[in-house]
């Protein structure tokens, strides 16, 4: 094999592997990316029922209703809009009323969000970063009211 052909083989196989990697990334991007939405986003952007999204906001005070077999319903709000969430399973340790939460699942046609995971992905001030930003956008962010992001350690349980 000549030098030139060897070089060609090398470059050719490199490009082939790279092309496969790029193709995989592009196809995965189409199917497996989940967008974060606040309740207002869900209402305004008309999220299509059945598409997988993340919904984040505050757990509305007094909205948590527990049913049989670890079923639970609660409302997620950003102060302007509220979405009902249904979930079955164990809630994270740090799930509290009045505090931030991120859920992942699909919206059903009746407008209830069927969550299959509830994340307590937040710092010790019970505020996920996405939720804090969403609240700031909707103007329901009260600085200092237990919601400040201080210079203190952060924890998450996922």
């Amino acid at each position: 094999m000549t030098r030139k052909r060897r070089r060609l083989v090398l470059i050719g196989s490199a490009l082939a592997v790279l092309a496969v990697a790029v193709a995989l990334v592009l196809s995965a991007l189409k199917d497996s990316i989940v967008f974060f939405n606040s309740p207002t986003d869900v209402v305004e952007r008309h999220v299509t029922p059945g598409s997988r999204i993340r919904l984040g906001g505050l757990v509305k005070d007094g909205s948590v209703v527990r049913g049989n077999d670890l079923a639970v319903r609660f409302d997620v709000t950003d102060g302007e809009n509220t979405i009902a969430v249904a979930y079955q399973g164990i809630l994270p340790d740090l799930f509290r009323e009045g505090q931030g939460v991120v859920t992942e699942g699909v919206l059903d046609p009746s407008g209830v969000f069927k969550a299959d995971s509830v994340l307590a992905k937040h710092d010790e001030n019970y505020m996920p970063k996405e939720v804090a930003d969403a609240l700031k956008r909707s103007g329901h962010w009260n600085e200092g009211g237990g919601q400040k992001v201080g210079a203190a350690p952060q924890g998450r349980t996922q």
């Binding site: 991007l29 497996s32 990316i33 967008f35 399973g89 164990i90 340790d93 010790e124 210079a151 349980t157």
Partner: protein, 661 residues
């Protein structure tokens, strides 16, 4: 007094670093051995002073000196001693000090064990290493000083994040940093080579042991982190494709590629430019990982503080070092003398293929990790890139990589014989086919991929064994001869086989855990029995206990297997009043390589309790495989010392713990 001492020691370390970052490089330029010799002394001195600073910090924690800000924020007088010590690095400031300590440690190791390096290379390496030290010393002193005092010392501390009050904190960060930061040395070697404009087989021989050392620790560190997350988070998961996990995986992938490409440079004097680039990339990815984890762009248990000046400072360091290194690379790489090209079908060719796959896999992880951050900065929309993305991109690439792994060690250098190698792998392929058939027969239905994955793992395992069998002539010569040959085999051959077998073991564990596990989530009342895979769990009731700095609710379960008593499990929930947070202490019971996993949810008003119950077959193999890989790394490392004819007295060889190259 002690914190001030620590602070002062750190400042002195910075000054030593400044000297080391300039004088030896000047010496190397002027060929002045006196100036070059400064590097060794300052490197050891730097390590001593950083170690003193670190010891001072630990002393402040042990004494619960709450007049020190970080001690107040992260410690509590009622904590057990071990957590008082580990909480020293369970926060942003202390963990950065640990980072710098390990950076200085690697510099000192090169100074001590690098006696056989050419003077200029050694001076340049230590000089470059010290640039990194200057940057991070400044970062600590200017933005993250762990020794800051509070004017009015509080009586009690705010306690360590309860999730971190675990033995894992004593093991995981030091191991991970030894790996992560260890790649700084290979980076320094690469930059030194670019400065000198010379890379040869000897350079690769000196670099490889350091890459191997860092890689071995990083492997253990990642595995330890994964096991810690598995038992402490109560979700039963061991890998979440979370950005902070990816931050450690990216340098591991680049480092693995580096190990293999440095082999080609060492043995065949080829792939030089590529090896240099990989050395730069591995440490750049470590730096990116540090940035992701330490700057507060991500919310995670690893992100301790979100002070924007810190993020910008690390970003500046990142840009400076990665940008600078790549610019230097672009400028100097063309003058490096190119090694020869080689036949595609050869050991070198196989290693290149390995590098292609590893780097592509690494690229997908980098993309998946940084894409959400980039998208948010550019468009403001927040997305999450989770497991499905990585399973779909990283997974296939890695599976193909694993099918070619056994070919590498069997292939001859220069010109290999693909057919011959395939013939020698017939045994391994047969083992794989039997594995596929048996799994298929036992499984009946189920995902078709599972039997093939099992086959792949067995093929990898048998492939690693094939290499050893071929080399020792086992099955062909008498057992005694084979045994003698096995003893005579270079340890690196054993290392390679072990590392590749470790990969197979981990794969087996992953398949077992994800495909054959069982999960139950239920609400149980006292006396009730839960069953999973012939295991019965009888809930006996709950007890309340008081720990040193927490209150605990423990649930008592009696476990029976097919009717026979096998033990009790006591998962619990702990409430830490000083932080107002709860943690979940899962109970684990090991049965062979399988584990039973029990964790608690909420207590229901009618006296019941929600539980998560998992049966995880083969789960221990996931981490055992990583330990086997690390053992392979360690074996290989011990070999290099013996094999390299470095001019060094025999007695010192035996005493040297670290590679002496």
């Amino acid at each position: 007094m002690i914190p001030e001492l620590g602070h002062f020691a750190l400042v002195l370390a910075l000054f030593l670093a400044l000297i080391q970052a300039s004088v030896p490089l000047l010496g190397a330029r002027r060929n002045d051995s006196l100036l070059m010799g400064v590097a060794g002394t300052t490197a050891i001195g730097q390590f001593c002073f950083v170690a003193l600073a670190f010891a001072a910090l630990i002393a402040s924690y042990v004494q619960s000196d709450f007049s020190v800000q970080t001690v107040f924020e992260n410690s509590h007088s009622a904590m057990p001693l071990i957590y008082k010590i580990t909480s020293a690095w369970g926060n942003h400031e202390g963990s950065m000090l640990l980072w710098v300590l390990i950076l200085a440690l690697f510099g000192a190791l090169v100074a001590i064990f690098g006696g056989n390096l050419p003077d200029r290379l050694r001076a340049n390496v230590l000089g470059v290493q010290s640039w990194i030290a200057v940057a991070f010393d400044l970062f600590i002193l200017l933005t993250s000083n762990p020794f800051l005092r509070i004017a009015d010392a509080p009586i009690e501390g705010r306690d360590l994040n309860p999730l971190l009050q675990d033995l894992g904190l004593a093991i995981h960060p030091p191991l991970l940093y030894l790996g992560y930061v260890g790649f700084s040395i290979t980076f320094s070697f690469a930059i030194a080579a670019l400065i000198e404009g010379r890379v040869d087989a000897a350079w690769a021989r000196w670099v490889r042991p350091w890459a191997l050392l860092a890689w071995t620790f990083l492997t253990l560190g990642i595995a330890m982190g994964s096991y810690w997350a598995y038992y402490t988070l109560g979700w039963g998961g061991w890998w979440f494709w979370d950005p902070v996990e990816n931050a450690s995986l990216m340098p591991w992938l680049a480092g693995t590629a580096l190990l293999h490409s440095a082999l080609v440079t060492e043995k065949r004097n080829a792939l030089k430019v590529w090896t240099i680039l990989l050395a730069i990339l591995a440490f750049s990815l470590s730096l990116i990982g540090t940035f992701l984890v330490r700057s507060g762009v991500l919310t995670s248990v690893h992100a301790f503080a979100s002070d924007p000046t810190r993020g910008i400072f690390i970003l500046a360091i990142l840009t400076l070092f990665i940008g600078g290194a790549l610019a230097l690379f672009a400028w100097r790489a063309p003058i490096l003398k190119q090694g020869g090209l080689f036949a595609p079908i050869s050991r070198e060719g196989a290693l290149v293929l390995n590098n292609l796959f590893l780097v592509s896999a690494c690229a997908t992880v980098v993309f998946g990790t940084l894409y959400p951050l980039g998208l948010e900065v550019l468009t403001g929309s927040k997305i999450s890139v989770g497991a499905p993305f990585f399973n779909w991109t990283f997974g296939p690439i890695f599976i193909v990589l694993m099918t070619v792994v056994p070919f590498g060690p069997l292939m001859a250098w220069k010109r290999g014989d693909l057919l011959g190698v395939a013939q020698r792998l017939v045994g391994a392929i047969a083992v794989a086919l039997i594995g596929i058939a048996v799994t298929f027969a036992v499984e009946g239905g189920g995902p078709i991929l599972v039997p093939f994955a099992i086959g792949l793992a067995l093929y990898l395992l048998a492939g690693a064994a094939t290499d050893l069998i071929e080399r020792t002539g086992l099955l062909k010569v008498p057992a005694a001869t084979a045994l003698a040959r096995a003893r005579g085999l270079p340890r690196s051959a054993w290392g390679t086989a072990l590392a590749h077998a470790g990969l197979a073991v981990t794969l087996l564990g992953i398949i077992g855990e994800t495909q054959w596990g069982a999960e139950r989530i239920a609400d149980v009342k006292p006396g009730q029995v839960l069953s999973i895979r012939r295991y019965d769990f009888q809930f006996d009731g709950t007890t309340e206990r008081q720990g040193p700095n927490y209150h605990e609710l423990a649930a008592h379960f009696t476990v029976r297997h097919a009717g026979d008593f096998v033990g009790v499990m006591e998962p619990s929930k702990r409430t830490f009043p000083s932080r107002g947070t709860d943690t979940n202490e899962a109970a684990l019971m090991t049965r062979g390589f399988a584990q039973l996993y029990l964790s608690l949810g909420d207590v229901t008003p009618d006296g019941g309790i929600a539980v998560r119950l998992y049966y995880k077959p083969l789960v221990l193999l996931i981490w055992l495989g990583a330990v086997v890989m690390a053992m392979g790394g360690a074996l290989s490392l011990s070999d290099r010392r013996l094999r390299i004819g470095a001019p060094m007295p025999a007695r010192r060889k035996a005493a040297a713990m670290q590679p002496a190259e």
